[in-house]
């Protein structure tokens, strides 16, 4: 009970924000390291969920609860579900997925270095200065001073900050975000729709490759470049699950079948029903 009272006091006074920041920051970093070190791919994915939730907590300490809940809804709720489904699609404990060749490793290191450089530039470059959030005629601030607080800063003639984005009626910041997004950032918003559309169409085309020749159908199972490494796995799966004619995509291409939308399509993996029977 005393612990709770202390916690309540700390929350009220604001010192808890510092504590919470450290808790969430350590949690986020620890989970992120665990993501890339875990041997089991699903455990790694779960650590990523923990990481996302910790970042949601960080947003909360920054007094942006709308962003925080969106982080949970979209990242932990949707993107990770997609990840897990993709893991299931590829086969969970498929060790071949973990093994990368030398070229892959070099590419990963190069890509990582590029990303780190871009992030460093983003943080130290001109995009985080006062001009980036308050417009080009924002007052210049010396080191350690903040004259312009975020997007919603209301500055009077002398350049003094007299109000911020936060107000009691809009504690989550959602109305503020909405106003900014649908006035100043209209084009990025509509472009986001275009991006999502392209992503969907790409996914449909990738998942429904119907222009494969029948002799390529075996390789269609692989979904990866190194077909040699997968040979063993495929043999195992094939042995465990004999393909019955008329039940999988291969049979769909047989002459005499009705050329319907569904039949002409190659099933990359067998239906759940097949797996159960096998």
């Amino acid at each position: 009970m005393t612990v709770l009272a202390l916690a309540a006091e700390a929350v009220a006074s604001g010192t808890s924000e510092v504590v919470l920041f450290w808790v969430f920051a350590v949690l986020a970093l620890g989970a992120a390291i665990a993501v890339i070190t875990m041997r089991n791919i699903v455990h790694g994915a779960l650590m990523l969920v923990v990481n996302f939730l910790a970042i949601a907590g960080l947003y909360l300490t920054l007094e942006s609860s709308f962003l925080s809940i969106i982080q949970v809804l979209v990242y932990a709720g949707a993107i990770m579900v997609l990840f897990l489904f993709v893991i299931m699609l590829l086969g969970v404990d498929n060790d071949d997925l973990l093994a990368a060749d030398v070229r892959g490793r070099v590419g990963a290191v190069l890509g990582g270095a590029l990303l780190a450089g871009a992030l460093t530039f983003a943080f130290l470059g001109p995009y985080t200065g006062p001009a980036s959030v308050c417009g080009p005629d924002a007052p210049a601030a010396g080191f350690g001073e903040v004259d312009c607080v975020g997007l919603g800063a209301v500055v009077d003639e002398d350049g003094e900050v007299i109000g911020g984005a936060y107000d009691e009626d809009d504690a989550s910041g959602v109305a503020f975000l909405g106003r900014a997004m649908f006035t100043r950032y209209t084009y990025p918003f509509e472009l986001a729709a275009l991006l999502l559309t392209v992503a969907t169409i790409g996914a449909v085309i990738l998942a429904r490759r119907r222009d494969l020749a029948p002799e390529d159908l075996d390789d269609a199972d692989e979904l990866g470049p190194d077909a040699d490494g997968d040979g063993e796995t495929r043999a195992e799966v094939g042995a465990a699950r004999p393909v019955e004619p008329g039940m999988t995509g291969e049979a769909g291409d047989a002459p005499g079948d009705e050329p319907s939308e569904a039949d002409g399509v190659v099933d990359v993996v067998a239906e759940p029903d097949d797996e159960r029977e096998g």
């Binding site: 709770l4 609860s65 709308f66 809804l73 489904f85 299931m88």
Partner: protein
């Protein structure tokens, strides 16, 4: 304003107990009502009308062996049911179970927290709940749970979208994410005197989408594909036993209670209702009574659905979600917004137009329902093509569907073979 610490503690405890008790009562009520629908008695030994049956069942479950099969992933196998129960309890944190009450000089609302993000909290906890099902199936490392887990998580995420878009209509009407604003917006009377100002009336399509979505989200019949016992044994919880299985069951039954609470709050005014001139201090408690009454209606609806409808087929379930509910919810969101703006600019015009459109919509829906089209296109959640149960009816239906005239001898043979 400083509130003493016992207030949030009391709020959390009251809400926690409220939902736990209601869940226990739901399990009993379901067994009684379904039994009555099937001309049985149901549990009637423990306590008056067998009302304590859930309690003794729960206690019994503590003394059952909780086995862990050899092939499971132990840590996740244990964590998965916990995620379900905890996310279930957390989702109702923003739902007020009553109005304002005054106790020992402190006035507070019977809600855990009136968060500024309000309804989005409910949706976020629903999306966390998916992990319970998915991980339960995956960690079991066994064929049936794996299939059941991935099936039901796909089902849950599909209907989550439909629900989320239905909630968007509510936010449009209330103009706020806060649940207290949504409840306040439904107080008073609606478009006519004596008609409640519930959002279910102007937002009827969104309300229907939400109701169908919540049945699917809770994994209840007719959408209980997860535990289609004829094909998947118990779905994602096949390998579970003892109290870890009990936790899955608790989460499932509790989602019926929480979903009822959520739909009542968003569409049926929550705890608002006439207070009969009661003094201020008790008005909030009368609100609790209204809230409970509205919830019981929905809980009863869930039970009736289970007793009355056969299970949906998986492809039809996904079709209903993606091709009917989501487009309807999306279009309705835009239509609602257009009406609100229209009414803002030309008061009065919007109401007339809405009534006209509502009658046109009613005619279209009626035509869809009663014309000779495929029943599933009507989107009413009913499947009238389900073959009649019983061994005799099945062969005749099959031959008739093939379009061939059944030879009378064959039919007679079939009947003789399958007749008991």
């Amino acid at each position: 304003m400083e509130t003493p610490l016992w207030v949030p503690l009391l709020q959390a405890t009251v809400v926690f107990t409220y939902y736990l008790l209601l869940t226990a009562l739901l399990i009993w009520a379901e067994r009684r009502v379904v039994a009555r629908m099937q001309s049985r008695l149901g549990p009637n030994r423990v306590g008056p009308f067998g009302i304590l049956q859930t309690l003794v069942d729960g206690v019994k479950m503590f003394f059952k062996e909780d086995t862990t099969p050899g092939m499971v992933n132990r840590s996740i196998f244990t964590v998965a049911p916990l995620i379900g129960v905890i996310a279930g309890f957390l989702s109702i944190a923003v739902i007020p179970i009553g109005g304002e009450v005054t106790l020992f000089g402190e006035t507070f609302t019977l809600v855990v927290a009136d968060l500024s993000i309000g309804v989005l909290w409910v949706l976020a906890m629903g999306s966390i709940h998916v992990y319970s099902v998915f991980l339960g199936g995956w960690a079991s490392n066994s064929p049936y749970p794996l299939l059941g887990g991935i099936r039901s998580s796909a089902q849950m995420v599909s209907y989550e979208i439909a629900q989320g878009l239905a909630v968007a209509s509510v936010i449009i009407y209330a103009g706020s994410l806060r649940v207290s604003d949504i409840v306040a917006g439904q107080a008073g009377s609606g478009f006519a005197d004596g008609v409640p100002g519930w959002y279910a009336i102007p937002l009827f399509p969104a309300f229907m989408v939400f109701v169908i979505g919540m049945v699917a989200e809770a994994g209840r019949p007719p959408f209980d594909l997860a535990e289609a016992e004829g094909e998947l044994v118990g779905g994602f919880n096949t390998e579970y036993s003892g109290l870890r299985f009990g936790m899955f069951m608790l989460a499932e039954f509790m989602s019926v209670v929480t979903m009822s609470a959520i739909v009542v709050t968003l569409f049926l005014g929550g705890p608002s209702g006439p207070t009969f001139g009661a003094p201020e201090a008790f008005a909030g408690l009368i609100g609790t009574g209204w809230f409970l009454l509205k919830m019981v209606v929905f809980i009863f609806f869930f039970i009736l659905l289970r007793g009355a409808l056969p299970r949906y087929r998986y492809d039809r379930l996904m079709d209903l979600g993606w091709k009917v509910l989501i487009p309807v919810a999306l279009v309705w969101t835009l239509v609602t917004a257009a009406f609100v703006i229209l009414e803002q600019e030309q008061p009065g015009l919007g109401t007339d137009l809405r009534l006209t459109l509502a009658s046109i919509a009613a005619v279209i829906v009626g035509w869809l329902l009663f014309s000779g089209r495929e029943p599933r296109d009507a989107g009413d959640g009913l499947d009238r093509h389900e073959p009649a149960p019983g061994p005799v009816a099945a062969p005749t239906t099959d031959t008739a569907d093939d379009g061939t005239t059944p030879a009378s001898d064959d039919t007679a043979d079939d009947r003789q073979e399958v007749a008991p």
